[in-house]
Amino acid sequence: MNIVVCVKQIPDPETPAASFKVDEAAKKVIPAQGIAPVVNPYDPQATEAALRLKEAAGSGKVTVISLGPDSARDAIKHALAMGADEGVLITGPEFEDIDNFQTAKALAAAIQKLGGADLVLTGRAAADWDMGVVPLGIAQILGVPCVTVAKAIEKNGAGLKVERVLEDGFQTVETPLPAVVSVSNEFGEPRYPQLRQIMLAAKKTVQVWGANDLGIAGEMGKENRALVLEALYVPKVESNVEIIEGDTPEEKARNLAQKLRAAKLI
């Protein structure tokens, strides 16, 4: 099975609110000092899913693609160190500040240039914009089904059996291949790259493609966004907290219970 995994590099989603700043005029996030970008937390799970499917089949190839600045190589390297076979970096000025609809177009074009894939795996969402539209977009463009928020994936005849996470439980579905599947955190811990694999990864090929290589230069660029960013800001939160005093935890608890009762909250 030929599997493509899409991985994205994002600002650390656990950046403390105090270090998170936005340039409201430019409508951009100011990178937090000393906090390095990370691989989108769901994407190693997508890589893990690909590797497990390849291992179960005993053959196949796992290619990782990332669209982003040159630093996005680190996200590719991480997947290669986990065991993926090859990487593709999509980069260039045309991709700066594009929206997720353009991102899906670029990734789909790259998958087509690779000769297609039996399965495309993505994370359930990129934890920066958190839209969860890219996997559905790739599927729509490639004309294949999309199964989102997967918790477990297994080969099932010529297709796949996928367990999905719903709001109030789980759903098992069966999809033919080729397909796009987005993977959720419930999938389980991804493997941790070992030193030997990290060294092996350094020797694996990472191709670099620009918008012209993909024949999509005319559709990229900020001016071709389908979603227009009107404003980006940090919401104001005022603190009006009343710290409940008391000499002992028991006294604090008593004071809280009384306050809550007085306010008719209990």
Partner: protein, 320 residues
């Protein structure tokens, strides 16, 4: 082309709460000049009448049985047909298992865009502006749409439903359209829920990683039961296997807005706040006075929960 199409949803034949909330949002936009409101629903004509009472000017009911329990790809042509019939240039749906797939699918099929997990909407200067959280809740983005229709999936509890008004009138028409199911549903497994549903509970007591071990949740369940509430958890606690993921509150979990939210040993990361910031009253029990949850709370106790929670249970019992 003008107007709003609302994709309503029903569970086991009854309208889902999001349907009323979406109509509440649509009526607000209609008041701002966005045009009339058409509601789409899969099911029976009776549901169409209920949607009119909740604020729709017209309803389109798709009676095709294949839509029941179906995935978004089966809905896609049905929604496209309703869009055409209504002439709407704005489409609203819920950020639900259906909407989170259908929104992007529809956007890509029509060459337009979608705002996901939208928390606010306005119609100004002839266009729809959608507000949503990004960067894990640290930032808000306001987006508009270059092409039509503008599509937004709306996060639960972002808008209030209107009280049903049976005297409202509007046409209910039926269609019979469904797409092909390439993906087959083999089965659904409901998470076993004990007691009140988290999303509906007037009181929620949630625990985090600071509980130290799963046994802490026993204490929280006792407190929740005493207050006739439900028990929730942070993702850190769920990922550790201390509590079921169906009880997770936050960006990737449930959205709750109870009258009282008691956060025990939860730091208040933006992704957790995204699921409970709409709570009317927040109480934080935390060792750390600088924890974000403490800042967001109305009342806070700075101490070890292991001593505070049992004492709180006793005090509440005494108050009767």
């Amino acid at each position: 082309m003008a107007g709003i199409l609302v994709i309503a949803e029903a569970n086991e034949g009854a309208l889902a709460p999001i349907s009323g909330e979406l109509l509440g949002a649509a009526r607000k936009l209609a008041g701002e000049g966005a045009g009339s409101v058409t509601a789409f629903i899969a099911g029976s004509e009776a549901l169409g009448k209920e949607l009119i009472a909740l604020g729709a000017d017209a309803a389109i009911v798709d009676t095709n049985p294949a839509l029941q329990g179906a995935l978004a790809e089966v809905y896609l042509p049905a929604v496209q047909a309703a869009l055409q019939q209504s002439g709407a240039d704005i489409v609203l749906m819920g950020q639900t298992a259906l909407g989170r797939d259908l929104g992007p699918m529809l956007a890509f099929a029509l060459g337009t865009a979608v705002s996901m997990e939208t928390v606010d909407l306005k119609y100004a200067g002839g266009k729809l502006i959608a507000t949503r959280a990004c960067y894990g809740g640290n930032a808000r983005a306001e987006v508009s749409f270059k092409n039509a229709p503008a599509i937004a999936t709306v996060k639960a509890k972002s808008f209030d439903a209107l009280a049903p008004d049976a005297s409202r009138s509007g046409s209910v028409s039926t269609i019979d359209v469904a797409g092909e199911a390439r993906v087959k549903v083999l089965g659904v497994q409901k998470a076993e829920s004990t007691g009140i549903r988290l999303e509906d509970a007037p009181v929620v007591v949630s625990g985090g990683r600071g509980l130290g071990d799963p046994s802490g949740f026993k204490m929280l369940e006792e407190l929740a039961a005493l207050l006739k509430g439900a028990t929730g958890a942070s993702r850190a606690a769920c990922d550790l296997g201390w509590y079921p993921p169906s009880q997770q509150v936050g960006l990737t979990g449930k959205v709750v807005s109870p009258n009282l939210y008691i956060a025990v040993a939860i730091s208040g990361a933006s992704q957790h706040m995204a699921g409970m910031a709409g709570s009317k009253n927040i109480v934080a029990i935390n060792k750390d006075p600088d924890a974000n949850m403490v800042k967001a709370a109305k009342y806070a106790i700075i101490d070890d929960y292991k001593k505070v929670v049992p004492a709180l249970i006793e005090e509440i019992k005494k108050l009767g």
